[in-house]
């Protein structure tokens, strides 16, 4: 294990990754570079500096990546109305490629030959981090301590801390949750604890980002979202940067009990797992984006997007953001968004985000044709007969030849 000289670690400042710092130094006898990013998880990142220093780390990277995260990852993904297995908005998945990219960037900058992360061997995140790292720096060494060490219980971790004088108050700063949680600007996730029985309802005090629908205001909130080329650029007429949009929508959604999700999902590593998610802003964005597309996007482009979406979602979920197939799909998706501009009006109320209006200068809705009133000849109803007749021709021939089609 002596061949690793320097390793860049995705460092949260928490207990687990602090143990990893020490374990890497000791096991690999190498320098550790820490990388801590603010991607909207809702915790201060600056305190990670002192902790890293205390662990003897000399190269410490602390970065605010919120804008880049939403602009270059979340927004492109929402252009596809992306949803995994009909329910999941990919809040964890979409944050991983950026982390992987920064780990590799920093490895290149600091001359490190390895990267490391604190993801376990059962989950999707290890896959996402490592696929990204390998795609961007093929010769990199990846160290996944949870797959290597034997500190696989809280007791052993604590013993390790004591033995290596790692201050354990790290972890006691907030009341220990029974859930395994992860958060970024798009969502917060919960796994483990009583969720391991899919029949048990999640406890109310588990949820952190949203009030319950029951506790939400009794009057609805209306908002207007302005789209340009598939992306939200303003809320209620106020121009905002991407991460500001998402922050604001998280607040609006959370206040109205919007975005809670409780699912069983299929992990890439082959097992089913139960997870709960709060995605207040994303839940609003998904419906709003469909609404602006409904007015401005061509039917066949829209249908083709719908056919490609499950694949695109799978690609992201499985960790292949940095791949030819993702770029290929993105090219198709982005090609369709040129005219996806306009305004969507939504009603937020006790858990529901409902579209109530949409308008656009690029609208393809043609009132003169769609009307139930006299259309002054804009549409010739006689055309429908030929349309139907030729579309039916293959069916008629088959039936005429005796095929039973019922």
């Amino acid at each position: 294990m002596s061949d690793v000289k320097k390793v860049v670690l995705a460092y949260s400042g928490g207990l687990d990754t602090s143990v990893i710092v020490k374990w890497l130094q000791e096991t690999y006898d190498c320098e550790v570079v820490t990388f801590t990013a603010d991607i909207g998880q809702g915790e201060e990142v600056e305190p990670a500096r002192a902790k890293a220093e205390a662990l003897g780390v000399k190269e410490i990277y602390i970065e605010d990546l919120r804008e880049e995260y939403v602009r270059d990852y979340v927004y492109p993904m929402f252009r596809a109305n992306t949803i995994y297995e009909g329910e999941y908005l990919l809040g964890t998945s979409i944050a991983r490629p950026l982390i992987a990219k920064r780990l590799i960037d920093i490895a290149n900058q600091t001359g490190a030959d390895a990267i490391s992360h604190g993801a376990t061997g059962k989950g999707n995140d290890q896959v996402r981090f490592e696929l990204g790292a390998y795609a961007l720096k093929p010769g990199v060494k990846v160290i996944a301590p949870w797959r290597e060490w034997d500190l696989n219980s809280r007791e052993k971790l604590m013993a390790y801390c004591e033995q290596h004088q790692i201050p354990v108050d790290f972890s006691t700063s907030k009341k220990k949750s029974p859930y395994s949680m992860d958060a970024n600007l798009l969502h917060i996730s919960y796994e483990g604890g009583n969720l391991e029985d899919p029949w048990e309802e999640a406890e109310e005090d588990m949820w952190r980002w949203s009030v319950s629908p029951e506790a939400a205001p009794d009057t609805p909130t209306y908002i207007e979202l302005t789209y340009e080329r598939g992306d939200i650029v303003a809320i209620d007429g106020e121009t905002l940067k991407p991460h500001e949009v998402l922050s604001k929508l998280n607040q609006l959604g959370g206040d109205n009990g919007i975005g809670r999700l409780d699912i069983v999902e299929n992990r890439y590593v082959g097992m089913k797992s139960r997870g709960c998610y709060e995605t207040p802003g994303g839940t609003i964005m998904l419906r709003a984006h469909r609404a602006i597309e409904s007015l401005t996007l061509d039917r066949e482009a829209a249908h083709l997007k719908d056919e490609l979406m499950p694949k695109y979602a799978e690609v992201i979920y499985n960790g292949y953001w940095w791949s030819p197939e993702r770029k290929m799909l993105q090219a198709a998706i982005d090609e369709t968004q040129k005219d996806v501009s306009g305004v969507v009006r939504m009603k937020l109320y006790k858990g529901s985000a409902t579209v109530v209006g949409r308008k656009s200068d690029q609208s393809l809705f043609d009132e003169s044709i769609a009307t139930f009133e006299d259309d002054a000849g804009a549409y010739d109803q006689k055309d429908a007969e030929g349309f139907i007749k030729l579309n039916a021709l293959r069916l008629r021939i088959a039936a005429g030849k005796g095929r039973d089609q019922s």
Copy 2:
């Protein structure tokens, strides 16, 4: 036009189709057979008999098709988690193939050589009726009065009624709505009126099947849905027939403000149109079915279903139920449902239908593997390394050859 001897008309008993009876008799000098079906539209069908008799109709078919409708059309469609353009549950589309089939059955029984319907020349329903009819009886003559006649205003219709002594009180039995509406056990739809401006919010008094979320009870309702092979067979432990299930869910959903939808959709005939829908039961069913599948369906089968679904939805929306491609897709879908059995627990509250638990004897959720606790060797975390390494291999080779993958 003298070549038509007998025509079977889809007859609602309302003003428009009553005019059609007379117009057919007069224009084609032919016998008219009326067919009126209860598919759960919420209006009595028996009164259509007297009306038809008054118009001189001798062969009158009045049928209760609710069970057949839900069992053979709605249920198969829901096995696919079918949704058109990300939003629409196809409540109108799925009722048409059954009507088409019965029209043709009756044509065969009565020796009729033509069928007729009251759908307009701008909509999807003409396509659905006629594609079905041609597929089942290729030589049938289809008469679509709205594409042929010149009675294209209410005034002309009224004048026609007066001239032909058709009792107009037909239509005044209920207050005239400004909307064009259609209903069956799966949904009620609204088009026209102020909905023709997609920016205008639907008026509260338009909705008929559900209370508003604001007016719904302040306490949630919990229900348990029992699935067998992909279909709901019981609610809260009570075994019900398919149409009873849907009726019950409509009531439960409607009471809790669930199932309202306001969209702009792409019609098969080429235009965008704005429609509002209430699908209380269907909205619950969609989420519940996904939930039972999440526990019992293999990942790759589930993903493949998701990839096929948009096509399947399009096939139904466009009117190709009676087609080889629909049967082909159905065969694939039904193949997957053998083990989709179990119970889903849902919370209904002020517009939201939320899954809160799911269990099944056929569950593929394996607690011993999924657990965050010690899994006693059920899953070897070391396997993940090889899994990632080989999945990354193509990306590493490409990066190693100098491809920029960022």
Copy 3:
């Protein structure tokens, strides 16, 4: 019919379109602009000028579009390995969008309000011309004489010619074929005659562009095709323009009996039809392109291309080149071609075009890994175990829960 002032006609100079000139002048009392293009059909286009002048046409457009045709239509299509219904290389379909575009360009230049073409009402070409025209100039009037007039037999056409003094020697310049034929640089097609019985073999003297395999040389011809970004740029080291490449490959293929095809295909208008095609160059290009991709394209991008291809082929076959969905697919396809460069070596022999070698600076083939010999640790065979184990996990869990998977 008096509302048409000027119409641009796709004019071949042959008998049928000459009749159309006169018929348009007479029926619509309008000016006719003729447009004749060289797209490699193998006949002189310049003679069309005198013929048009003789018919009183004042605005005559004669253009050599061969380079544009291959560069902007044929080449992009071949990047997708496009093939309709497993066999057909779309030689007719891909020529239509360019004709449609030029008709509209000329209509705009000459202030014409209509376009016209000589395609019949049973075929795909009318659809392709007209969809293109409507997409590029939505208000254009389209006149399709074969759907309107009653000159639906050769006798009536001849009578019309005599009556209107149209010189019939037009059509007698070459021996009248029993087949309906169409040609451009990509292929020549044959329909009708004894081909209308799908069981009858095409007669040897029908074929015009290729010798029979039996008559081809007894020694193979080897060629090397150089690709850049998915397109052929040189043959045997000689740099050529796109249309020169295709001409040269047509000659090489035709000389070696390559590219004959005899199929029954499904037309967009709903019927099956039997057609024979000679596509010598295209047949070589399809296999060669796959070969260069096999070396340079990522696996998942390649597979995704294969999944999208049938849709892309259908879009082109049906006439939707000028559509959002085609552009969307093209964006995805073109994104993958950046590194599709290198050389393919082929053997042409008596009807077969066989790939015998391929090389590329962008090759992703890694000999050090692929070797059956010792790979010096480039690939760790132990990784395969984890890879298989996790890929099998969902299957094992299902089997363990009693699912019968056989």
Copy 4:
């Protein structure tokens, strides 16, 4: 390694698997059961008995699986016109699921707790064997000696043989080829040797099943293939069992130089590899099946099959025959084959298998409609206008709103 009591080995009787017998006995101190199958590889299987006995094997299974192989694996696959990456007919892939199934059957019969195979750690076959085994018997132990032992050179193998008195004349019975080969009734494959350079042409004396096109007869051979429900049941009117059909077509194809293929393919384990294949019968079958479908299959079913095929091919190539997704796809495919019956006439000549005629009682080709002659009103050309107009509507609206569609 003491937990394995009995292992079933896929035993060819060759040197490598004989070494494996001994190595398993020694390393795992367990009983070895050998399983040798005739799947048409062209070598006697009975001699494997004496060899196994000589190695101390007590339970020896030798089976003729040729009929089952073609009937239950090859035929269903050809119903889908299956082809991997546009070229490869999956001759190796499709033989693996049957071997896996028999290994597990025998394990169950003999009370074995493990299976073993002689596939290397770099290839696809290990994946196919093991995924199948795990799917059918989730708790089975899989032993893959090539991934475990250190006998990774011919010298070490020979030394092992000498040390363990394994008769080496096993392998010298036929001249040692420089290629790694594998054969079954569908094909023979070649890898390694000079093929490891994708630019080098395969040597003529490598090919074993076919003459070169140059050496094939100078006159074509015509054959007629009779299909029932998608499968060939007779050749030239002679009823044959599935494996007899394939044998006969292999002979006919091989005699005419048909079925050679030279490709670079993407392995599931992440690398590209170069392989050569001879698939004489399969090459004929693929084209013939498309031809009978062209006459009897509905257009939309055919197109949907084409869209699903790449996925189906990938599923088989990757080793997921025994999976829910394969069964799902098979259900869709088989649903379409009910009327795929009739006769295809083919011309075999110097490397080419060409369709020259097809006929069927289930034909959907309608001469009265398709004809260029007068169709007596079977098709109304006027219908085409409405068909085009409505299909163009969305494009016209978009263009009318100023969208540039060129």
